[in-house]
């Protein structure tokens, strides 16, 4: 992979390079878009993800809630939510500590949108889920463990 990357880097630049990377299947066109935070979604550990989000080491806050069941019957679909009573929340994110890439989703909340977002995520295994909230420019966090069971047969 490293070798391949080096070869590609040597042989092109700019749009040509992007095109070649896309052709080689190393990146897909969507990934080349500037606005999607690739660094944050590619980060593996919690610490690296927080760094890529510019969150540093956020303080734990009782005013941030992670909602979700204690047990999920299937890790493919785990309902989770983030809510906060903090003021001027401009961003929330959901991180799953033990997933291959911790960041699941992030949301920018314009003024008037409540700090209350629910979605569903995949979990490879039982893990802590972190809710990250940016309020008045500062980052806060809360956590909850969700156990993932491997179901039996049927349904």
């Amino acid at each position: 992979m490293n070798n391949q990357r080096r070869t590609v880097l040597k042989s092109g630049s700019g749009a040509a390079l992007l095109g070649m990377l896309a052709a080689a299947g190393i990146i897909t066109p969507g990934m080349a878009l500037a606005d999607w935070n690739k660094a944050a979604f590619d980060a593996k550990s919690m610490a690296d993800t927080l760094k890529a989000l510019g969150a540093g080491s956020p303080a734990d806050s009782k005013d941030v809630q992670v909602t979700g069941p204690d047990i999920a019957e299937n890790g493919a679909v785990v309902p989770v939510g983030v809510a906060s009573s903090l003021l001027n929340v401009t961003m929330v994110a959901i991180l799953i500590e033990k997933n291959p890439n911790a960041l699941a989703a992030s949301f920018v909340l314009p003024e008037g949108t409540e700090a209350n977002v629910q979605t569903r995520v995949k979990m490879g295994q039982t893990s802590n889920i972190y809710a990250l909230v940016k309020s008045d420019g500062k980052f806060f966090m809360a956590t909850k463990e969700i156990k993932v069971t491997l179901g039996g047969c049927g349904g």
């Binding site: 679909v77 179901g151 049927g154």
Partner: protein
């Protein structure tokens, strides 16, 4: 002697406490699982299949460039309300007891001019390859939401199918000598965290049948009753019947007959 008695008493107390905590833990797990299922119920991805199914029902398709609007699912051409809840049913035009899936396939063949092979090739979806049948069944099923399952199996052909279904349900077979009734013939059984319904009672069969078709979160798609039952056979290590096989329709007839009177709540969402 007294010491021995004490030991026994203490032992019994510990045992009782242990049993108590296991039971408490069990009910806590059950509560949490109920919470999980509830959280999924609002926003069931099966709704997406329903919308797609409606489109497929109305769209002019196939060599005959026709929609399915004239399809008769047992209540008359184009009548969808309550149709799913009353299937399987005997149809005079084919002289067969048909379930929702075999009847939809029949309509796609006769009205739209597709071949049976074309229509059933993708009878269930694979990643990236959606199944039209799943969408159509979800759409038709939802038109019976809130209605009672109504398969009295009074027509002699229906009665015969229900009887055959019952026979299959109890018949032990395959390398594990399994029958449906081994897992689904008693109350209060479960495999790991999954409760196993007693399908021989109206309550058990009703609970099982009323939520189909259902979105399976583990599969990321809607399962039809055909798929559910064919996969049951696979899990019981039986040879898998073909799609739309009479044996599956017979089992459906037996289960729907047992569940008759139960109010439908479909599409469902399951593990």
């Amino acid at each position: 002697m007294i010491r021995r008695l004490m030991k026994t008493l203490v032992g019994a107390a510990i045992l009782a406490a242990f049993a108590g905590s296991v039971a408490a833990q069990d009910s806590k797990v059950a509560d949490e699982l109920a919470k999980y299922r509830e959280a999924l119920a609002d926003g069931n991805p099966a709704d997406l299949f329903e919308v797609k199914g409606e489109g497929l029902w109305l769209e002019k398709r196939g060599p005959k460039n026709a929609s399915l609007e004239q399809c008769d699912l047992g209540q008359g051409p184009g009548k969808l309300e309550g149709a799913y809840a009353a299937l399987p049913k005997y149809f005079k035009d084919t002289n067969k007891v048909m379930d929702v899936e075999s009847r939809l396939v029949h309509c796609m063949v006769t009205l739209q001019g597709f071949t049976q092979a074309e229509v059933t090739k993708q009878w269930y979806s694979k990643p990236g390859k959606d199944s039209d049948i799943e969408a159509l069944v979800t759409f038709v099923g939802a038109k019976s939401n809130g209605m009672k399952i109504n398969v009295p199996a009074t027509h002699p052909e229906e009665a015969k199918m229900a009887k055959m279904g019952e026979y299959i349900f109890y018949r032990r077979s395959g390398p594990q000598d399994f029958s449906c009734s081994i897992c689904h013939g008693q109350d209060g059984k479960r495999i790991r965290l999954q409760d196993l319904g007693n399908l021989t009672t109206k309550a058990g069969a009703g609970e099982a049948m009323r939520t189909w078709p259902s979105y399976r979160v583990s599969q990321g798609t809607v399962w039809t009753m055909q798929r559910r039952l064919i996969d049951c056979m696979r899990q019981a290590r039986w040879p898998e019947p073909n799609y739309l096989a009479d044996s599956i329709i017979a089992l459906e007839t037996y289960l729907q007959k047992t569940a008759t009177g139960t109010v439908m709540e479909t599409p469902g969402i399951k593990r």
